[in-house]
Amino acid sequence: MAILTQAEAQAILKKALGFSKADECEITLNGNTGGNIRYARNEVSTSGAEENVSMSVESRFGKRSGVATINEFDDQSLEKVIRRSEETARLAPESPEYIAFLGPQKYTITKEFFDSTNNVDPAYRADAAAKSIAAASAKNLTAAGFLEHYSNFTAKMNSKGLFAYHPSTVVDFSVTMRTEDGTGSGYVTQDYSDISKLDTGKASQIAAEKAANSRNARALEPGKYTVILEPAASIDLLRNMFSNMDQRAAEEGRSFLSKSGGQTKKGEKLVDERITVYSDPSNPEVPAAPFAGDGRPQQKVTWIENGVVKNLYNTRYWASNKGAASIPPPGNTIMEGGNQSLEDMIKSTSRGILVTRLWYIRAVDPQTLLYTGLTRDGTFYIENGKIMYPVKNFRFNESPVIMLNNLEALGKPQRINGSLIPPMKIRDFTFTSLSDAV
């Protein structure tokens, strides 16, 4: 019963809500089913399949709130979970940040559920791993990879008349290929809502090629370099920036968007004017849920337009407290780019470094969003428009804000971790030391 239809979910939620005696009650039903396969040293190491449905109930008496969850759905269990949440609510302190549940909402319908992904079976997973391992064996490489896929649904109903339902599917695939002598390593990662777009054999060729070409890397002096960041390299740094665009933190003075005098940088130019970032749950390449966790509708929201900060997200409490527009955190991130391919960007580079992946990224200073981390699994030196040779990995210390001010060029956006991000060419990217790691 892991993936309930809208009618099935609605029926269970309605029945459960019928047991409520609280002032307000909101019930969320989540279900998922999926599987995974992991391989290393060119053989399968673990594989598994999982399935779960769970219900979470929040009951409120005045400003007191209590939560309970359950994964059984007979009448008795439904009543039990409602009562338990009510008991907890009665004992809870009053919340100074109370805000009433939302009433009925209008949601756009987004297509994030694909039968292709929902129908994956163990044989598909074994075959997907076998194709990837074959790509490694063919070139005397060692593959370690992981594929996982899920079908999910979320449904929500409350005593104020809100109802929301959204099904989705996703597959995540990644593989690292290493040369037998341990001097070369390559990586690829791909994710889709529709698994028919995934070809693990073909994707693995990219990792294989990078591994073979990254043998015997040369050492370059650390310093400031022009870099071409593939989307798999830039995504984590960018996400760290976008996930810090919280209005409250900015207004409290503890965010990179805070300014002297208690002001924020909303409305100011923060990065290069070619940078425009928005979220849109209806984008067919990176579809997302049409509502946020608290039931607020997700619509197209522009976060940065031509380099200027346009919107900050907030909680319903903070929005109401400050009289601001209520904007939930986004379900996806879409960064506009150009039409250039990665190859075009390499061709137009006189001297630079191509980065496949950044790893172990950690915040150094939240004030400036300075992050450190390392390049990994395919780092190459470019000269006069050509990849010349592999280079040893670097540690970087860089802020995505500084990086997006040092923009040279944007390529064609690609899907990465549920977002659309272009490859980007950045000047003066700060590498602070060398790493011997392969």
């Binding site: 995974n36 915040a363 939240p366 300075l370 802020s399």
Partner: protein, 548 residues
């Protein structure tokens, strides 16, 4: 998706925690329910059903883990309790060896039928995977221990302390910080109880009751005029203890270096005292001198050094990593078998003695038996600077010519398959009597670093960069004032070879990681790292200040 929810903590201001999100397993239950125990006789009967079913289906070996995992997390900010999570997860995991291959299946249906079905599935999976196996699994022998039990030696079960009392302590710490000039404070108390029953066809029935606790906070100071803000994290450690850790004791405090006001906490934490100092230090950081980049001698506090040990010694000596099983995610290791085989690979200076264990009282790793029924012990990883051993479990021991497992196998849930996890990894204190002021007295140009900060290391564990919570400049043997914008970058082997001196046993205390991640799908584990204050010479320090 596993049966776990993720509480996104980034919005709560826990920037310095070990993970961007805190995993919560299982269903939300009442605090009273958490005090219930499952009858061991029932667990033995169910375990026998699993083992007998597995054997009758052709397994050569089987183990079963019946686990009840309890978590209570309390989150507050300033004057307000933000969230209280009480979660319980109960189920059974069965692992078998059939046709020389592992198979694993788990179920939340804790009945004879449910357990038997999981055992059958595990055998079927092993048989299916056997076709892809190149070499049969070799298990190091282990003794059957019969019916035995073990409990974390706690004085006060944290789950028995009323939630209100615990929330009040956090709010009192918040008030102490706010009264001393903090702009904001977020605090949390994490409590975990694992009730684990392990049985195997080797003849063991092991009932264990394991407790862990971690109080934590982040204090933020904002200077509105300049728009600057700074944070100071708690100097607590996550511990394998009960609520007694929360009761301050003068005998468990170790004074930090003269001129810093810092206090080290051994087996009892004083949250109010630390929150008070944290607020003062967060404010002090707003105007502290920015470090001049260059080479410095570092004196590292145990609450800081723990994470450096974790990343640069703990992880690279995990045998599965060394062999390539973690290549796609966590990475591999520079500490390869050929280096170990030379018997003279100098990991560190002669002063460096690093041991692994699962037996230190108060540590997060302390248990009687591991998750494959191996009695826990202590062993050397680095002896007088030389690499001498790794961390290995039953199916790996033969690879490093050992005839028994080290006893460091762990699964984070009944529903996860157990695999090799880091035991406690600790730096032995010095033999010569020395306190931290005496250690600092020998340093001409140095930096004293306390507490956890930013940490990053490459996938083979060569190059790392660490920050900290507080920094103090050392000149001519004395602390002269606070510093900011400090991070040190080094190479693991160079760094440990620059280890010059350390304090004695009386200065030794533990730090830990409560949510250490490994594997795909990722599992967490908790692990401690003990050390005394230690000095490293000539380490490269960078300045991390930037303008945006």
């Amino acid at each position: 998706m596993k049966r776990r929810n993720f509480l996104e903590l980034s919005a709560l201001g826990f920037g310095g925690l070990m993970l961007p999100s805190i995993p919560v397993f299982g269903d939300i239950v009442s605090p009273e329910r958490m005090l219930e125990q499952v009858d061991p006789a029932l667990k033995k009967r169910l375990a026998d059903v699993a083992l007998n079913t597995a054997k009758s289906r052709g397994a050569n070996y089987a183990d079963v883990r019946i686990g009840r995992y309890l978590q209570q997390y309390i989150f507050t900010r300033e004057k307000q309790v933000q969230n209280i999570v009480n979660a319980e997860s109960f189920g059974v995991g069965v692992r078998v060896l059939a046709d020389g291959t592992w198979g694993f299946a788990a179920t939340s249906d804790v009945s004879d039928k449910g357990v038997a079905k999981a055992a059958e599935q595990a055998v079927a999976i092993a048989r299916a995977n056997a076709k892809l196996q190149k070499e049969p699994v070799q298990l190091a022998p282990v003794q059957g221990y019969g019916e035995v039990s073990w409990q974390t030696p706690i004085e006060k079960n944290a789950f028995e302390v009323p939630v209100g009392e615990k929330a009040d302590l956090l709010l009192a710490a918040n008030a102490a910080a706010m009264d001393n000039g903090a702009s904001f404070v977020n605090s949390a108390l994490f409590q975990v109880n694992e009730q684990k029953y392990f049985a195997s066809t080797e003849g063991s029935y092991i009932d264990q009751d394991i407790h862990r606790i971690w109080p934590n906070f982040t204090v933020t100071a904002v200077d509105k005029a300049s728009g600057k803000f700074k944070t100071r994290e708690a100097l607590s450690a996550p511990m394998g203890m009960g609520y007694e850790y929360m009761n301050p004791k003068a005998s468990e405090k170790i004074n930090g270096p003269a001129g810093t006001g810092l206090v080290g906490y051994r087996y009892a934490y004083d949250m109010l005292e630390d929150a008070t100092l944290a607020a003062k230090q967060a404010k002090e950081k707003l105007t502290a001198k920015s470090v001049m980049a260059g080479k410095y001698d570092l004196v590292l506090d145990p609450n800081h050094l723990g994470l450096t040990i974790h990343e640069s010694v703990g992880h690279p000596l995990e045998l599965d990593r060394v062999l390539g099983y973690e290549a796609n995610y966590a990475g591999t290791s520079f500490a390869t078998l050929d280096k170990w085989k030379t018997k003279n690979f100098k990991y560190g200076s002669d002063k460096v003695n690093i041991f692994a264990d699962k037996i230190q009282p108060g540590s997060l790793g302390y248990v009687g038996w591991d998750d494959e029924g191996v009695k826990t012990k202590k062993w050397d990883l680095i002896k007088d600077g030389t690499l001498v051993n790794y961390q290995a479990i039953r199916d790996q021991a033969h690879i490093i010519n050992e005839d028994e497992s080290h006893g460091c196998c762990y699964a984070d849930s009944w529903s996860s398959v157990q695999f090799q996890r880091m035991p406690n990894v600790s730096l032995a204190p010095g033999r010569e009597k020395k306190n931290v002021d005496q250690l600092i007295a020998g340093v001409d140009k140095g930096i004293y670093i306390a507490g956890r900060g930013s940490y990053s290391i490459d996938q083979q564990r060569y190059n790392f960069q660490f920050g900290g919570t507080t920094f103090h400049e050392i000149k001519n043997g004395k602390i002269v004032g606070p510093l900011e914008d400090v991070a040190y970058q080094s190479n693991t082997q160079e760094f440990w070879n620059s280890c010059a001196d350390m304090c004695d046993e009386s200065d030794y205390r533990m730090f830990g990681s409560f949510f250490d991640g490994k594997g795909q799908p990722s599992q967490i584990s908790a692990v401690s790292h003990g050390s005394a204050h230690t000095r490293f010479n000539g380490v490269n320090v960078i300045n991390t200040a930037r303008k945006i």
